[in-house]
Amino acid sequence: MDYVPDPVVTLTGFARALRANGIAADSTRLATAIDALGHVDPLDAEQVYWAGRVTLCAEPDDLPRYDAVFDAWFRGRLPLPGPDASGRPGTTLRIRPLAGENDAGEHEDAEEADEPLRTAASPAEVLRHRDLAALTDAERDEVNSLVALLGPRMARRRTRRTRPGGRDAVDVARTVRRLVRAGGEPVQLLRRAPRVKPRRLVLLLDVSGSMGPYADVLLRFAHAAVRVAPASTEAFTLGTRLTRITRALRLRDPDQALAAAGAAIPDWSGGTRLGESLQAFLDLWGQRGTARRAVVVLVSDGWERGDATLLGGQMARLARLAHAVVWVNPHRGKEGFAPVTAGMRAALPHVDDLVAGHSLAALHELAEVIARA
């Protein structure tokens, strides 16, 4: 019996599986993919692979996930193209099995993660997702107050774009239009002035075990910051690896956003490789532009498992790129605090501000520092 599957049905199911794995393969993209499939040889697995990839994916983070879902979906129906997945940035996310998004194993892990103050690092990488329970009313209020706190206080910078007004440059286009209306008589010189925009803010959150007690509130702070200025704020977590959580935090509802961020972070409450993950940030994002002229806020207690010289070097590199580097150390607010951890000592010469971040009051101070930067 010859059974030929309908390509539209197959692709629709495939796009659905991609969406379940966090790729924004919406109906517009699906329609484009079906169109694309009409132009290539549908029996050539490699052409099908590429036609789907260029139409359904939108960023490098999507590619390893696309590969995994493609394998799962078309295995048995088409031979696998076996593309090389090396050398792409942003491949930190783990692929979960297609079915059973939240299996029981993760909840167990999350419970374990609730233990306060585990030792700084474990030699084996601990991969666990944070199971963020629904926010209580008090916590929701806190998020809202953080939004209100940050709202008017983002640091600003002048852009190259202009607005009417000011006293310096003449706005030729508007002046001439006015002049034409007046029959060619120069009436008045209209001026233009540079516009200001929020300066880019980059939040780097250490989510290793020793930061456990503070991670929740800092994640909420990050969500508030992304909500206030979604286009100019980026958030990453550092632990044993680098994870970008900006996309997850753009969800408006705090419950959803924090759950999505928690699901995206694979190394929650694991060890710390601060130097390496900071290097990964600078290599993949920072140097290309994300950190340039930005206010970079690094939240960590400075417990570095590896050699601190790498961290020192990377901090120097960060300080050269960024407009200002703010280090938030939750222990800073405690009595008798001295920056004695090896990581802290290596980083300190390259830090513009060292602030506490252990309480809501301390976050007020942080917002103040960000606004001043």
């Binding site: 290539v40 040889d41 260029v54 490098p60 792409r88 940035p89 774009r161 034409v180 290309r288």
Partner: protein, 292 residues
């Protein structure tokens, strides 16, 4: 559709044509470019600097006989630099020449005529068919600029309030590149075909160098490609791209070198390694770089 496009039967055929013009694409890139031509969709290319994103647009223009129109993006770029601008001095001269006698309404209308319009790259690409429009490094422009592009990418048209809509007789092939210094808005991306350009594997890179620097010896090309591959895995601040491999080979050839050794490598390292910190590190481990 561009006239010359119809002859490309398959991604492989397009790949061969690019190959013939000196650009060696892998199958993914050939398929992406093929679909962009067939579906008349913009091609959105991301990848590390120097992997050949810009060169692809140039080669596509060559093999299709189209004119390449390039728009380099930068912060603050706006419609008057990317789409069109009015030629104000000429407008004023026209106004003066007409004097007071002319009918005001008629005169004002005549001021906003096509002849007073200065076409910037995007309008040029729409008017000069067939064309390949390269919008280079869109991530350098600010996000307001992306909104200007939406109409062009979807309808191949530019609407000028005083004049009306100018539509391309033949839609240009649009290639957009990004180094990913910021995230480009999804509204723009969903109109495009997305492709992440990888560094080529060793054999392809050697072939690319041979094609671009045919006068250099095969052995030299292989040595340089191998050294560059090692540099890429050494976690430098700026890993060299294909462009650097080509530059380095050319530099060595110009110095009359046929075999890469420590001395010639050190003298020409600046063609491949662009940061002082990287230079210091590489010079220290030069022997390992050359394969021991």
């Amino acid at each position: 559709m561009l006239e010359g496009m119809r002859e490309f039967e398959s991604p492989a055929a397009l790949g061969d044509a690019l190959d013939g013009a000196g650009y060696l694409p892998d199958r993914g890139l050939a398929t992406a470019a093929f679909l962009a031509l067939r579906m008349q969709r913009p091609l959105f290319l991301e990848g590390d600097p120097g992997v050949g994103k810009t060169a692809l647009a140039q080669t596509l223009a060559t093999i299709t006989g189209a004119e390449l129109v390039r728009l380099q993006c930068y912060e603050g770029i706006d419609a008057s630099q990317a789409l069109y601008d009015w030629d104000f001095p000429r407008q004023i001269l026209h106004l003066r020449a007409a004097g007071d006698t002319a009918d005001r309404a008629e005169l004002e209308h005549s001021l906003y005529d096509r002849r007073f319009l200065v076409a910037r790259p995007i309008l040029q690409a729409l008017e000069r068919a067939p064309a390949v429009l390269l919008i280079d490094e869109i991530d350098r422009a600010d996000d307001e600029f992306e909104a200007f592009l939406l109409e062009v990418l979807a309808d191949h048209a530019v609407t000028i309030p005083e004049l009306g809509t100018i539509r391309a007789a033949e839609p240009p092939l649009v290639v957009i590149t990004s180094n990913r210094t910021r995230e480009v808005h999804d509204a723009l991306k969903r109109r495009c075909l997305y492709h992440w350009v990888e560094h080529p594997e060793f054999a392809r890179e050697v072939a690319i160098v041979r094609r671009r620097v045919p006068e250099a010896a095969q052995g030299l090309a292989e040595q340089v490609a191998a050294a560059v591959a090692r540099l890429r895995s050494a976690s430098l601040l700026k890993p060299p791209g294909v462009a650097e491999t080509i530059d380095w080979t050319r530099a060595l050839h110009l110095l009359g070198v046929t075999r890469l050794d420590a001395e010639s490598a050190e003298a020409t390292l600046g063609a491949a390694v662009k940061y002082r910190e990287d230079l210091v590190r590489v010079q220290r481990e030069l022997a390992g770089l050359l394969g021991g």
